[in-house]
């Protein structure tokens, strides 16, 4: 008698297709966690690095943590704010946190 599989067979993926002719709108939100944003609730607190076009500019609803340069800063923001940042012409990009560990074997 064959062993029972440890895992059930998987169904096909649900695909959320792009809606524009360009084959996918370019997002300003980057970093590995950006790919998982659909999994994140609207009120989830996020941290990231924000790059802007205008020195000193901090978008509304974004809490600056540390100024790295006049146009680059670390920030707290909520998932809900990302839509507004996507539309903000003075925001170049937002990179959500990437985890880092010691490089010891």
């Amino acid at each position: 008698m064959p062993d029972e599989p440890d895992h059930p067979s998987l169904p096909a993926m649900e695909i959320q297709e792009s809606t524009d002719d360009a084959g996918g709108r370019a997002s300003k939100i980057g970093g590995p966690l950006a790919a998982q944003l659909p999994e994140v609730g609207d009120d989830e607190k996020l941290t990231g690095v924000v790059k802007v076009t205008e020195p000193g500019y901090v978008p509304e609803g974004v809490a600056r943590r540390a100024a790295i340069s006049p146009t680059l800063f670390t920030a707290d923001l909520s998932r809900r704010r990302l839509e507004a940042l996507e539309r903000d012409p003075r925001v170049v990009s937002v990179e959500l946190s990437r985890r880092l560990g010691p490089t010891e074997t």
């Binding site: 649900e14 996918g24 943590r65 074997t105």
Partner: protein, 614 residues
């Protein structure tokens, strides 16, 4: 003063003679992990192995092998029996075990950084006019290597990012401990308790904190262990990175020794702010596998921006330890064709597995995912997401296919498999829909609990860490300085960057390095990794920055980088170019300091030394 004759056998191994002489004077040897205080470890050459083993005064160790003259063995023997054992019929030779060379003796002399090796006429000693900042986990401020002769601390500040927040917290979180608070804690019987900060105690699987070890290599003064690091008089600052607060990444990350890139940038900002106008080099022995690997990430841009704010700044980063992990793949997708990537998920996988594929923005791939039994789960076009949910609604598998990353314009695929998906070799099939270039690189993210890998054969190039591809950082590979051939450490990651730049820049000893052991006061412990190589370069840069300050010379980040690179030695690596793991060669502190002192412009930029726009 006079010489006294003893009755100890003059033809005995000098170390054994010394032990017996001490015993005659009533002195006891120290107990070690393997030897009690009235024993000594020995290496013996014996004629008859059985006769040796049967001796009642021999605590057998290892049998190392048979030579033409007998068997080579190790053992612990009572000091009182040494003379008797030595004269036994079966013993041809008996020597005391040599103590392990304390500590950094395989790093500092190897990089030509001991005082006698350094050039004559230096204006500063031990990096005294520079600040060494360390971003890491576990600074043992009580270890003698970080205290002055009077017992006071050498640390100007520790920012414990995970400490309790108070009105003075840098950037609104954690606690900054200044030298006064550290010194007050050092006056107590329980300094870690008094300060509310300290390295974790050892566990059965972890001896000594990473940050203490790293800081000692760069700038320990030997006050505890007896052997100094590379820049023993440098000023010290330390940032204890908070455990990652990316709560939605899963419990395997939260609470572990993983910080994140935002905390890292803030740590470097803090260290440079603390240093003010003093020259400062920051060591970062942290990393993971993913990322664009072209220096375009905002964390790498941020590091580049901070080091070029003023002269006298550098950031040194470990290359990473992923060379042998099978975490990189590359290739070219043909128009209207496809390329398969095998992705091996181990049966014991205990956490999410994650893979990234980066390819040029002018191309368009379609990403198909197949299970280990060959079933296609569908394809995800550019700009779309794919997902499979479990019966309870949670996600089992997620595929993101993003167009035009905002920082480099490239497209990126992210695939996330939860631990509940079937193990075995999955297939990521890249279909070329619109191809003008077709080149791609893929990385599997680090997972210390159950690392997945690409199916062999592996392409171990481009295995630098996620933050190790910046334009102005100094990235360091590791080799084994204990062996005459100075071989590469098996783990030391390879360059180049995805955009073809020559990183790592240099290499340094990072294999079996003995350096400060936290919570011991004076002890050392052994660690390996590019984590241990980077601080050797950090210490060397501190020597350069200190000397440059005394000479009144401003060294910008590009000039520092060039001094380190141009002084690097070959053989190994082979002469005449850059090696993808040794970099431009093995560092040489004496040569770099000599070059600094020589007349001539070291500040002339080259095309490689790009300026980063703020």
């Amino acid at each position: 003063m006079y010489l006294e004759e003893t009755n100890i056998y003059a033809d005995m191994d000098p170390r054994l003679q010394r032990v017996l002489e001490r015993r005659q004077r009533g002195l006891r040897t120290l107990e070690t992990a393997a030897t009690s205080s009235d024993e000594i470890g020995v290496i013996a050459l014996v004629r008859d192995l059985q006769a040796w083993r049967e001796r009642g005064d021999v605590r057998e160790g290892a049998t190392l092998g048979e030579t033409g003259a007998g068997w080579l063995v190790t053992a612990r023997v009572p000091i009182a029996r040494v003379e008797s054992i030595r004269q036994a019929e079966t013993v041809r030779s008996l020597k005391a075990a040599q103590p392990l060379r304390p500590v950094l003796s395989a790093t500092v002399p190897e990089i030509n950084a001991t005082p006698p090796q350094l050039p004559d006429g230096l204006l500063t000693v031990g990096g005294e006019q520079a600040v060494v900042g360390v971003v890491d986990f576990g600074a043992d401020f009580a270890h003698g290597n970080f205290r002055r002769g009077d017992g006071s601390t050498r640390l100007a500040a520790i920012w414990d990012q995970g400490g309790p927040t108070d009105p003075g917290s840098p950037f609104g979180y954690g606690r900054r401990h200044d030298a006064t608070a550290i010194d007050a804690a050092l006056q107590t019987a329980e300094p870690y308790l008094a300060l509310g900060y300290g390295p974790r105690p050892d566990t059965p699987t972890s001896r000594g904190s990473h940050g203490t070890h790293v800081m000692d290599i760069a700038a320990g003064n030997g006050g505890g262990s007896g052997v100094p690091g590379v820049a023993p008089r440098a000023k010290l600052t330390f940032v204890e990175v908070a455990a990652s607060d990316i709560t939605w990444e899963g419990e395997e990350v939260v609470g572990s020794e993983f910080g994140d890139s935002v905390q890292l940038l803030e740590a470097i900002r803090f260290l440079f702010d603390e240093a003010g106008t003093q020259p400062c080099v920051v060591n970062v022995s942290l990393g993971t596998n993913g990322g664009p690997h072209d220096g375009s990430s905002l964390v790498e841009q941020g590091i580049d921006l901070m080091v070029q704010e003023q002269p006298g700044r550098a950031v040194v980063i470990a290359a990473s330890n992923s060379f042998d992990d099978g975490i990189h793949a590359a290739g070219s997708v043909p128009a209207s064709g496809a390329v398969d990537l095998g992705w091996e998920i181990p049966p014991t996988v205990a956490a999410q597995s994650e893979l990234e594929v980066w390819y040029p923005g002018q191309d368009r791939f379609n990403v198909e995912l197949l299970t280990p039994d060959g079933t296609s789960l569908g394809s995800v076009p550019l700009g779309s997401n794919g997902r499979i949910r479990a019966d309870d609604g949670t996600t089992l598998l997620f595929v993101s296919h993003r167009a035009a990353d905002p920082n480099n314009g490239d497209n990126v695929v992210g695939i996330f498999l939860e631990a509940r998906v079937p193990s075995g070799t999955w297939t990521v099939r890249l279909h070329g829909e619109q191809v003008s270039d077709g080149a791609f690189h893929a990385w599997i993210e680090r997972n210390d609990q159950s690392q997945s890998a690409f199916a062999p054969p592996h392409d171990n190039t481009h295995t630098l860490g996620s933050i190790s591809c910046g334009r102005l950082s100094l990235v360091v590979g590791s080799y084994d300085a204990h062996k005459p051939a100075k071989p590469l450490s098996w783990f030391s990651s390879a360059g180049p960057t995805r955009d073809g730049r020559e990183k790592p820049e240099v290499s340094a000893p990072g294999h079996d390095v003995l350096a400060a052991h936290s919570r011991t006061g004076t002890g050392v412990t052994r660690k390996s990794g590019t984590s241990m190589a980077a601080p050797a370069v950090t210490g060397m840069v501190a020597l350069l920055l200190s000397e440059a300050a005394a000479l009144g010379r401003d060294l910008d980040a590009a000039a520092i980088r060039r001094l380190v690179v141009e002084a690097a030695r070959s053989d190994p690596p082979a002469t005449g170019g850059w090696h993808d793991r040794y970099g431009h060669g093995r560092i040489d502190a004496a040569a770099a300091l000599t070059a600094l002192a020589a007349p001539g412009p070291v500040e002339i930029p080259t095309a490689e030394d790009a300026t980063i726009d703020a």
